[in-house]
Amino acid sequence: MPDYSLSINGATQTVSADADTPLLWVLRDLLGLTGTKFGCGAGQCGACTVQIDGAAVRSCQLPVAGATTMQISTIERTGDVLLEACRSAWLEEDVAQCGYCQAGVLMTSAALLRTTPSPTDAQIDAAITNICRCGTYPRIKRAIQRAAVLAKSPMPASGGARSGKETDA
């Protein structure tokens, strides 16, 4: 099993994996980066979307062997201006319901803002082909518009401080 050196969220990680292993499973099962979600494994739902050199890519369709020379960003990334702007807007608009698809939508949205800093509704419609069964589409659209504004402000706020840590009763 070959070793691959991957640049993920600015750090280099080495994994042993079969060449055809999709990046999704390398992230989730080999590197423990579970923020990237498995939805369909067929590139149709967008839950697994990451950024490769800043572009939205469905990681279930990208074999690890093809991801070695590029900059990979996942939902765990911190400090990226566009992603932080999207996070803040997501919190402001209270977008997430179950939240499972949102990592993919966030990565897609941040990639959209990179190429299209002021997207129209039609451009959002065209870019956000992710599936959300909770039906958060209207809030996603509002949040992208809000993030576009936030990203242009000097200091995009980073959202909320709640850790989400807990124990069982």
Binding site: M1, D18, T21, P22, W25, R28, D29, G32, L33, T34, G35, K37, F38, G39, C40, G41, A42, Q44, C45, A47, T74, I75, E76, C86, R87, W90, L91, D94, A96, Q97, C98, G99, Y100, C101, Q102, A103, L106, D125, I128, I131, C132, R133, C134, G135, T136, Y137, P138, R139, I140, K141, G159, G160, A161, R162, S163, G164, E166, T167, D168, A169
Partner: protein, 741 residues
């Protein structure tokens, strides 16, 4: 401020007072509670240990613990699947307590004698939990106020709680909850606390953002599939494509040859592939190339079955579920009769997170992590399968990546447990997306024939509603007609002669609960047909409904039925009328539209708790292309706990309904599900979104649920709008362009 001395207010009422030493010598008072134990935290090795910094606590109920540092810990006894219970339920308690919302910490309940009922479904979380949580908050508040009264030497009546402190306004003094914990914990827990609503609701009714949202947007929220246990393996399972079929052969060697595959294990439900990662397991599952002995169900064809169902709905012979007056005579005696047959297909849930469960079975215990709506059932079923006691089975409930009723049953949990037991290692079992589609518990296929006779004024004098469907309840035992006929049997319109009949036509696949359950097809049929009657009588559909909504409609509901079944919930027709009028007003019901555009209205009550009316505005092109332009919703769920979450639920419910109205259609060919990907089983996307406008009625009633009520009226409102725009009547779902040309 120093901790207060324990005062002497002990009583002999042992029900109220238990003083005992916890492991670290803390004084813990109240109802025996898991929360009364020192909280657990994960140490640097990921092992759960007692959190000794939280030794002294006030834990007057299983739902609440307040620590000396002021942290308020609230137990959430319902599963979070996106409906917002982990925000809304704590809001109720925190509001009555007067807590500082920023100091709230959550604990997710696990099945135990303390929490025997953790089921999440039927839009009941808010209505069931409102009183218990408010009571818990009020009891704790009274204890804290009593302790503060002693400390400040003022009457308790002069004190109130606010933002995590007891406040004495006259002297401008403020004692934080944490400083009162020790003294309050020594007092008897009041059993009938008085709700404090002398003041404004500090939290309830305010738009509160989702408590889990920060973790979600950082990718750190834990769903079932994100659970990681040291040493765990990953598995998937090849299951019979035709219900009841068995494997005749499979290529074990080929599957084991896949890099990373460890074991091939046959289970009663199929052939499992266990590997060191999910990808290897999925590849191994393909390599198995299982040959199945299809058996008798391989003849099932959903297109043919649809014809069968339609025929049964159009034929007498169903079981009568409600009978008022003499429908047959009234129909026979009328010259003005209207009849329509309505149909809807099987529907998949297609939760974004495929079904999964992580299990760790050791010699005398089993630990499970499963995003389920019924953790208690999982505990019981797994205990039975492994011959353990329920107490030996711990069920953790992480976040659910969508529930919608699918996760009321977690049949795969027993598979995960069996695999872990056999492997002697923790294992995460996940279904592939095609398997998730092919092994869903589907929304039933449905047909209903409605027949009515109208009088000279166009008002119905007879109403016969014949339903035939693949009963949901048959998957769980006997067919329970009341559940199959929700929205049909409880028709709220006053019609002197009325009969509702039901015929169960079995299908080989399992049926399940689906967001808004059988209200969805029944309300589609009822509200579409009512629109047909109004049209036939050239009456405005809104005015027609308002005229028919009368208490008289449910005179026969007062007593339990002869079969001993409880009386149905009585619809409050005034509340239904009010939402109809509000939806009409806000949608501009009477404002004329351009050619090709139309409005339609529909309404429903979810039991007697939640009331909704919706107006759809559509455009239909000459080529039959449908565009849903706007949905206006008027909702009465009583007191609104979280308006921000509630609006999200309404929008989500509408989108769910749009998916079903426009696309949802699971097909079976040769006994097999034939739409097993999102490419084949289409759901609503960003481009389908109408404008959604939501209005709430003032909350004068007890709060109720909203996860499902916004769903059922959407499809008939759209169908009625299409009729208004084009004169074409949609009687079959999903709505296809061909049917609109």
């Amino acid at each position: 401020m120093s901790l207060l001395p324990t005062n002497g207010a002990r009583t002999n009422r042992r029900d109220f007072l238990k003083v005992g030493s916890a492991a670290v010598g803390a004084l813990i008072i109240g109802i025996p509670s898991a929360l009364a134990q020192p909280l657990r935290r994960l140490d640097e090795n990921g092992v759960a240990v007692d959190d000794a910094t939280r030794a002294v606590a006030l834990a007057p109920s299983e739902y609440l613990r307040i620590d000396a540092d002021g942290t308020v810990t609230i137990t959430v006894a319902r599963s979070e699947m996106g409906q917002g219970v982990r925000t809304a339920l704590p809001m109720i308690l925190a509001d009555e307590l007067g807590a500082d919302w920023r100091s709230i910490r959550l604990v997710q309940a696990t099945p135990s004698p303390q929490f025997p009922k953790l089921g999440t479904g039927g839009s009941t979380s808010i209505s069931d939990m409102y009183q218990p949580l408010r009571r818990a908050g009020a009891a704790a508040r009274e204890l804290l106020v009593a302790a503060a009264a002693a400390h400040l030497a003022v009457p308790a009546t002069e004190l109130r709680t606010q933002n995590g402190a007891v406040v004495h306004t006259a002297s401008n003094r403020r004692v934080p909850f944490g400083a009162l914990v020790a003294a309050a914990a020594a007092l008897p827990v009041p059993q009938t606390p008085v709700y404090d609503r002398r003041f404004e609701h500090p939290i309830v009714g305010k738009p509160m953002r989702r408590i889990d949202a920060p973790a979600i947007v950082r990718g750190t929220a834990t769903y079932g599939l994100d659970v990681r246990v040291p040493g765990m393996l990953f598995a998937t399972i090849a299951m019979p494509p035709v219900p009841g079929s068995k494997p005749t052969s499979f290529n074990r060697a080929a599957a084991k040859a896949v890099s990373g595959v460890r074991e091939i294990i046959e289970l009663p439900t199929g052939v499992a592939v266990v590997a060191t990662n999910t990808w290897a397991a999925l590849k191994g599952r393909t390599a198995l190339a299982v040959i199945w002995n299809d058996g008798p169900n391989a003849i099932f064809d959903s297109t043919r079955f649809r014809t069968t169902l339609r025929t049964r709905a159009q034929t007498a012979g169903g079981i009568t579920a409600r009978n008022v007056g003499d429908v047959d005579a009234a129909l026979a005696g009328s010259t003005r009769r209207v009849t329509g047959t309505y149909e809807s297909p099987f529907q998949a849930h297609a939760t974004m997170e495929p079904q999964n469960c992580t299990a760790h079975v050791t010699r005398n215990a089993c630990e499970l992590w499963v995003g389920t709506q019924e953790p208690g059932d999982v505990q019981q079923n797994v205990a039975k399968t492994l011959a353990l006691t329920p107490e030996q089975v711990t069920v953790h409930v992480p976040l659910l990546g969508g529930g919608f009723g699918r996760r009321i049953v977690a049949e795969y949990a027993t598979d995960a447990a069996l695999l872990s037991k056999q492997l002697g290692a923790p294992v995460q079992l996940v279904w592939s997306r095609p398997d998730d589609f092919a092994h869903d518990m589907y929304q039933p296929m449905f047909a209903a024939q409605l027949s009515a006779a109208v009088d000279a004024n166009g008002m119905p004098v007879a109403w016969r509603h014949r339903v035939a469907s693949t009963a949901v309840t048959a998957s769980f035992g006997d067919v329970y007609m009341q559940a199959e006929l929700l929205g049909a049997r409880d028709v709220p319109y006053a019609i002197p002669n009325l009969r509702v009949e039901y015929t169960h036509v079995p299908a080989p696949m399992k049926m399940g609960w689906w967001r808004a359950i059988q209200f969805v097809p029944n309300v589609f049929a009822r509200e579409s047909f009512l629109d047909e009657l109004a049209a036939a009588s050239q009456r405005d559909p809104l005015e027609y409904r308002l005229q028919l909504l009368s208490e008289k409609s449910q005179a026969d509901f007062a007593a339990p039925s002869a079969a001993g079944q409880p009386a149905a919930s009585r619809v409050d027709v005034d509340r239904l009328r009010a939402v109809l009028m509000l939806a009409a007003e806000k949608s501009g019901w009477h404002v004329p539209l351009e050619k090709g555009h139309g409005r339609g209205i529909a309404c429903m009550s979810y039991d007697d708790r939640s009331y909704v009316a919706q107006v759809a505005e559509v455009f239909v092109s000459p080529g039959g292309l449908l565009r849903v332009k706007k949905i206006t919703t008027a909702l009465d769920v009583g007191l609104v706990i979280n308006p921000l979450g509630l609006t999200g639920q309404v929008e989500g419910g509408i989108v769910w309904a749009l998916s079903a109205a426009l696309y949802g259609d699971m097909r079976f060919t040769k006994g097999r599900a034939s739409r097993t990907s999102f490419a084949e089983y289409r759901v609503a996307s960003m481009t389908d979104m109408p404008v959604m406008e939501t209005h709430f009625m003032p909350g004068i009633h007890e709060p109720s649920g909203a996860g499902e009520p916004p769903v059922p009226a959407v499809a008939p409102a759209i169908a009625n709008a299409i009729f208004s725009a084009t004169g074409k009547r949609v009687r079959s779902l999903p709505i296809t362009p061909a049917s609109l040309v």
